[in-house]
Symmetry: C2
Subunit: 113 residues, 2 copies
DNA sequence: TCGGGTACCGTGCAACGCATGGAACCGGGT
DNA sequence: ACCCGGTTCCATGCGTTGCACGGTACCCGA
């Protein structure tokens, strides 16, 4: 299938980033684990090719910090932790999301309750 | 500001298209009017530079048909009408949107009811 | 020793919103 | 008579970001 060809992958744009922040708000996680956790959520399935560039961006923005830790079953893991800036960004986005979601609902579900 | 630089403009991706279809599901409208109507909805403000390429896509997909009509106050208008295919596409997306919205809500609002 | 699971990462493409700019028509103010 | 602003259409190019693809390296069981 052509890349970005599905409707859903367009929906993910700009949201995935903050879904990752939301997961990191509860616990420090590493990249590979984030992929697995997102796969458990309908419509958010993604791959390493998406996650790692995304995590690099988050680091560049100063929204996460990272620490290395050994693993018992493979190469070392890089754990990501939310910064105070990251928490603020997540809060700001959440407000934007709620407004946006309501607007789209209003247009899309007008006539089908 | 850099284009596409805001969080919101990324959210609009892939959604705007179907918001336009939703508006056309109620009445035939022309491009300039669509811009005004979307500006009335929080988070969906857009411009002609966005709408016209989008409408071209919809035509190419066969989701809308167009008819010209004179205007009393300016150049002629091109009115857009939803096709049966367009209505089906809108229905399909609406289902996808509901699932996606619930997933994001679940992640983002976990802990803040 | 060899394959498969774990774990990291970069490069290049495609989609789409938007800034920018251009064209043509109309009416009102100076 | 002339220009300016509103209306209405459209095309071109850029930036962001998800994803396909490919690469490296470690560990373990068959």
């Amino acid at each position: 299938m052509e890349p970005g060809g599905t409707r859903i992958s367009q929906l993910r744009r700009g949201v995935l980033e903050f879904c990752v922040l939301a997961l990191l708000a509860e616990a420090e996680l590493y990249g590979f684990d984030l992929v697995r956790r997102l796969s458990d959520v309908e419509g958010l399935v993604t791959s390493e090719g998406t996650i790692y560039p995304l995590l690099s961006r988050l680091r560049r923005e100063g929204w996460v910090t990272t620490t290395w830790a050994e693993s018992e079953s493979g190469p070392p893991r890089r754990y990501y932790a939310l910064t105070e800036d990251g928490r603020r960004a997540l809060g700001g986005f959440t407000e934007d999301w709620e407004r946006f979601r309501d607007s789209v609902d209003q247009l899309l579900l007008k006539g089908k309750p």
